[in-house]
């Protein structure tokens, strides 16, 4: 190992040779990881490298199959998160653990509510206590009386973090805390993290954004294939990526084929719907047309409307020369349009069901003979897709929920590819996907376009748009404000157009 050795003092928490397998897949194998008091420690690696599993083990949510957990100089065994809490170890898991039908205050102070002499919770004091606790963390925009289900996803992430911080943990694990947060919320979180560090507490976090890792981590541990590669005080991004993936970062984007001059596969004229208006564009066969812009400026709505999942209130749409008025996703699918949504867990995949069932779901009608699914054909189709997309799964029968995020995304892609669509709507398909899988998905998108399909690609990553697309249409406040034509634009141009600058400062 080229990481530094552990000599200085006892670890706040340490995993030694920890292993855990799920359904035959080794999520974590013989991994060691030590956290010191008073440090911010970043845990980085691709999806499926075992970061989340390691955090779940150290947070007491799951038991390791083997290895040892030490807190201070004691060996411990956590049966439940409760045992970890007792040792001052708190975790903000990637899947939020808030109670939707309970108030923000009840969630924040769960188990620590203000109590009267009778031992009963003083409801009158509860909201005030929560408000004060939130204010102490610099949060004034969340109403403690609101139910959690009334708050936004970002607010929930903030509440979840606040709840853990309020318990004054000795070690705080944050699993991808920033993926649901916008920039100023990330700044808020980092201020809190620095404060905890100043108080001698340890904070461990995972992130796919290198800028965040570099800006706040005192040490960085890199994981790959379920084990740690090394722990470093500082490390260059390119070197870190090489250690995470075993490849160079330059190879991330495959070369883009020249813009095709084929016929139009989709034409939109003055489209209007909830959240967008006067949207006109043409998509050629073989073309990858990007949509750029800040989140919430109409792309999501536009894609949903093109797919028939939201109403189109005006304009004309032609697919393959024929007019289309999609009222339901079925209409759009019949016309050869497929949508791959950004939230794969809630908008597409059936997590407890098998890879095979998820792949062939949209084609069940075609696969049926007299109402009975032709299992053999279904199987061979699914197998072909698993092979084409290099989906890493022990078998076709594996539940999709057990796969890593990148492989889940591939299953979703595979489902729509089986339907052989003419137009693909891809909405932020690489968000939360690791570098290696990203690269595979990029190649796949280019192959699909080269095969004569039209691709509409929305991405929140300007770099992705600039490397992947023949043209980019930038949207702001529901309108197309700029077209960046083939070849001659950079990621900075996309961002500048999105925020409305005419010229790029710096």
């Amino acid at each position: 190992m080229d990481g530094e050795t552990e000599q200085s003092g006892v670890a706040a928490i340490e995993g030694r040779g920890v292993s855990r397998a799920f359904g035959g897949v080794h999520a974590v194998e013989n991994a060691s990881f030590a956290v010191r008091a008073g440090e911010v420690h970043a845990l980085v690696g691709e999806n499926g490298a075992g970061k989340s599993t390691l955090i779940r083990i150290l947070g007491g949510l799951i038991r390791p199959d083997g290895g040892e957990i030490r807190v201070g100089d004691e060996t411990v065994s956590f049966a439940t998160p409760r045992d970890a809490h007792a040792r001052g170890i708190r975790t903000v898991f990637q899947e939020l653990t808030l109670f939707p039908a309970m108030s923000v205050a009840e969630n924040l102070l769960l188990g620590h509510e203000p109590r009267g002499p009778s031992g009963l919770i003083r409801r009158s004091a509860l909201d005030g206590a929560a408000e004060a606790a939130l204010a102490g963390l610099g949060i004034t925009h969340i109403d403690p009386r609101a139910l959690v289900e009334e708050t936004s996803l970002a607010e929930r992430q903030v509440i979840e973090i606040a709840r853990a911080v309020l318990r004054a943990p000795r070690v705080l694990f944050l699993d991808e805390p920033t993926s649901a947060l916008v920039e100023h919320e990330v700044e808020w979180l980092f201020a809190i993290v620095r404060r905890l560090r100043g108080e001698g507490r340890a904070v461990v976090f995972t992130s796919h954004r290198w800028r965040e890792v570099a800006s706040i981590a005192d040490r960085i541990t890199i994981m790959r294939n379920g084990t740690e590669v090394g722990t470093f005080p500082t490390i260059e991004e390119s070197e870190a990526v090489r250690l995470m993936t075993g490849r160079r970062v330059g190879a991330l984007y495959p070369p883009l084929a020249p813009a095709p001059t084929g016929d139009t596969v989709l034409a939109a004229e003055h489209l209007e719907g909830p959240g967008f208006r006067d949207v006109s564009f043409r998509l050629g066969r073989g073309e990858i047309l990007g949509f750029g812009g800040l989140t919430g400026h109409g792309h999501r709505e536009l894609f949903l409307s093109l797919f028939g999942a939201a109403p189109l209130s005006g304009g004309a749409l032609r697919v393959g020369g024929k007019p289309l008025h999609p009222r339901r996703p079925r209409d759009a699918m019949a016309a050869g349009i497929a949508l791959i949504p950004e939230d794969r867990k809630t908008e597409g995949l059936l997590l407890p069901m098998s890879v095979r069932d998820n792949l062939t779901l949209a084609l069940i009608d075609l696969l049926c003979r007299a109402g009975v699914i032709a299992r053999g054909r279904e199987r061979s189709m699914a197998q072909r897709m698993v092979a084409t997309l290099q989906i890493k799964t022990p078998s076709l029968a594996q539940a999709v929920g057990n796969l890593s995020g990148g492989n889940q995304q591939k299953v979703l892609l595979g489902r729509w590819l089986l339907a052989e669509p003419q137009v693909l709507l891809l909405s932020d398909v690489t968000r939360g996907v690791d570098v290696a899988t990203k690269s595979e998905i990029y190649e796949l998108i280019m192959r699909l376009a080269a095969g004569g399909r039209g691709v509409l690609l929305y991405s929140s990553d300007a770099l992705e748009l600039s490397h992947l697309c023949h043209r980019v249409l930038v949207m702001r406040e529901g309108r197309i404000v700029r077209e960046l034509a083939a070849g001659g634009f950079t990621a900075e141009d996309v961002v500048a157009a999105a925020v409305g600058e005419t010229q790029l400062a710096a």
Partner: protein, 329 residues
């Protein structure tokens, strides 16, 4: 920019209260409506409004269902369901009728014992659900049959006798004393809602995985819910015996499904984690008032269950529509 997050925009107090307790408020409103309806049809038939006798008998007759509805609420809140409530009522009712003698010692002793039996029966359900990780609907359907079978063994033929003093103490038939019990139960619920166990119950029903991640003992919470459900079902069996002044090993059978109906009418979510036992109590009274209304509208008793069902469907659909409207604001 400093590292703090701001931008307040909040609901008004009243609106929030109504919204957060929508099920309960709809149930109470519906109760007012059906009581008014009842008074209306009663007046049309009798030329006067219902008085003390009607109030007393209605409340007394509803008490067993009120208690069964509370039992069902406790379990439903954990995202479970207890179909064995009727069987537990059969068994506890039979035990009371078969063994209770006049004399304060026997009455108190047997009451305590029967409540403990209820807790034990609930514990059986709870163990199978929480430790055995079996589906609550399957477990309690099985134990329903078992409890019914035991009840028949305890009291093969309807009969036995409940001491008059017991009836007088539990269901005073001359004045609507039972209303005091209703208020006491509501207060008990409000206290329970503010206890650690009460919070845990709602947390488990909201999201079991999240409850565990937050250090809540999910298994103990579920055991407690089923046991408390058993105690309330036993109490329902005792009150039923006191009202009838005798026992019957099948008298509780109808209460399983009626307790589910009361819970749904009371705005308790069958998906767990939302609702109030007060709503379920209101739901119990609503079901009873509907039976009374149907009685006075002189609908053929043969069609009674048809109209009860029709009413239930209409109310549930209406409740969903109003709820959706309200949320959209």
């Amino acid at each position: 920019m400093s590292a703090s997050l701001a931008a307040p925009a909040r609901l008004t107090r009243v609106r929030r209260y109504l919204l957060h307790n929508l099920g309960l408020n709809l149930a109470l409103a519906l109760l007012v409506v059906v009581v008014a309806l009842y008074c209306g049809v009663y007046f049309a038939q009798q030329g006067r409004f219902p008085g003390n006798f009607e109030l007393t008998s209605t409340v007394d007759n509803t008490m067993p269902l009120v208690l069964a509805a509370i039992a069902q609420t406790l379990v439903v809140l954990t995202r479970g369901i207890d179909l064995s409530i009727g069987g537990m009522m059969d068994l506890t009712n039979a035990l009371a009728a078969a063994h209770m003698k006049a004399g304060i010692g026997s009455m108190l002793g047997w009451s305590a014992l029967i409540l403990a039996v209820g807790a034990g029966l609930g514990l059986v359900n709870g163990l199978l659900v929480a430790y055995g990780r079996l589906q609550p609907i399957l477990v309690t359907l099985a134990t329903l049959s078992i409890f019914q079978g035991l009840a028949i063994r305890v009291l093969p033929d309807p009969g036995g006798a409940i001491p008059q003093a017991y009836t007088d103490a539990l269901v005073n038939t001359s004045a609507p004393w039972a209303l005091v019990y209703v208020v006491a139960l509501a207060l008990l619920w409000l206290g329970f809602r503010r206890s650690a166990l009460g919070v845990a119950l709602f947390a488990v029903g909201n999201d079991e995985r999240a409850a565990r991640a937050n250090g809540i003992d999910v298994i103990r919470t579920k055991l407690a819910a089923y046991m408390m459900g058993g105690v309330f079902a036993a109490l329902a069996g005792l009150v039923l015996a006191a009202t009838a002044t005798s026992g019957d090993a099948t008298t509780g059978d109808g209460f399983t499904l009626r307790s589910v109906v009361a819970v749904v009418l009371g705005g308790v979510s069958l998906f767990g984690g939302r609702g109030s036992a007060i709503g379920a109590m209101a739901g119990a009274f609503i079901t009873m008032m509907i039976v009374n209304v149907l009685f006075f509208t002189a609908i053929d008793p043969l069609y009674q269950s048809f109209f009860e069902g029709l009413f239930l469907v209409v109310v549930v659909v209406l409740g969903a529509v109003i709820g959706r409207r309200f949320r959209r604001g």
